[in-house]
Symmetry: C2
Subunit: 201 residues, 2 copies
Amino acid sequence: MARNVTGPEIEQLIKLISKLPGLGPRSARRAALHLIKKKDQVMVPLASALNEAIEKIVECSVCGNVDTSNPCSICTDERRDRSLICVVESVGDLWALERAEVIKGQYHVLGGTLSPLDGIGPEDLRLGKLIERASETEVTEVLLALNVTVEGQSTAHYITEQLIPLGVKTSRLAHGVPVGGELDYLDEGTLAAAIKARKEL
Amino acid sequence: MARNVTGPEIEQLIKLISKLPGLGPRSARRAALHLIKKKDQVMVPLASALNEAIEKIVECSVCGNVDTSNPCSICTDERRDRSLICVVESVGDLWALERAEVIKGQYHVLGGTLSPLDGIGPEDLRLGKLIERASETEVTEVLLALNVTVEGQSTAHYITEQLIPLGVKTSRLAHGVPVGGELDYLDEGTLAAAIKARKEL
């Protein structure tokens, strides 16, 4: 690491910015300088947005989403379908599905995937709450929208087994060629899945 | 732009983070999520570091550096050589030179370069203050450590002309092959400069 060339306040700011994903020490310095230069336009509003977020944002005790209310605005939205629970790994995945406006039902954020090597077992995920929610009579389908990784798929398999006694339908996302995807750039696994699940025209 | 899928507080936070250099909307969302997840470890300390920076950081009225004191700690450091002023375009450049520990003298931050097309003239840079500082009897050399760009070099040329009447020595950084640089990856201009300024062994 380079030696500190500024006062402790600026160094502390750079250090904290560099903890954000996607920012290294160099880009954190650039970001800190930008903040200092644009004090009134960027630094002051950012500080107040952070203070507001610290004060107001809570985790939804039902689904695990983050919002300013608990239960969150998705869980309390009367217009949403209560028969479908879409299970995702993280809040980022929930946001991605919400941006696509493709889920009319509820969500359930696991907070990770099973990973025995990292010591992450069922009790480390929000699985008990999922079983509890899936047991409610109005729930008819649990869509496991987990990442198509080894961890994601083995977690989906585990959850499916847990849900069998409840008699609830489980489903997963379709695998295939992404819209806009070029075959030349796709891996063999995706191509094999797309061919296996081919549709008649 | 994607539609908002979270509350206004989180959206505002994402919007402000995305204004930092090097962060787009997608990485800003990831950074915001990271902050929310690591509330006590990252978000709270970052908010307080920003508040402290807002409160304490000022621009040095002598050299244009940013610090918590005015004049800054470099300008008031008695151990530094007062006969040399190193002129840089930005505070980021000053930090880079300080990290390298190569300047034993003072600095002067211009705050940009002359750029007639963008309407940036001599009065938009901290040039008057530089002339004033260079007129002091203890100053014997002004090192123009400006970027080797058209704007940087024409600004250096302009400043040199302004300093002639003061009888102060002006210098610039050497051009050549960067240490660790591979010839194959260097542009013709750098190679030409390196050959022109070659040293006998």
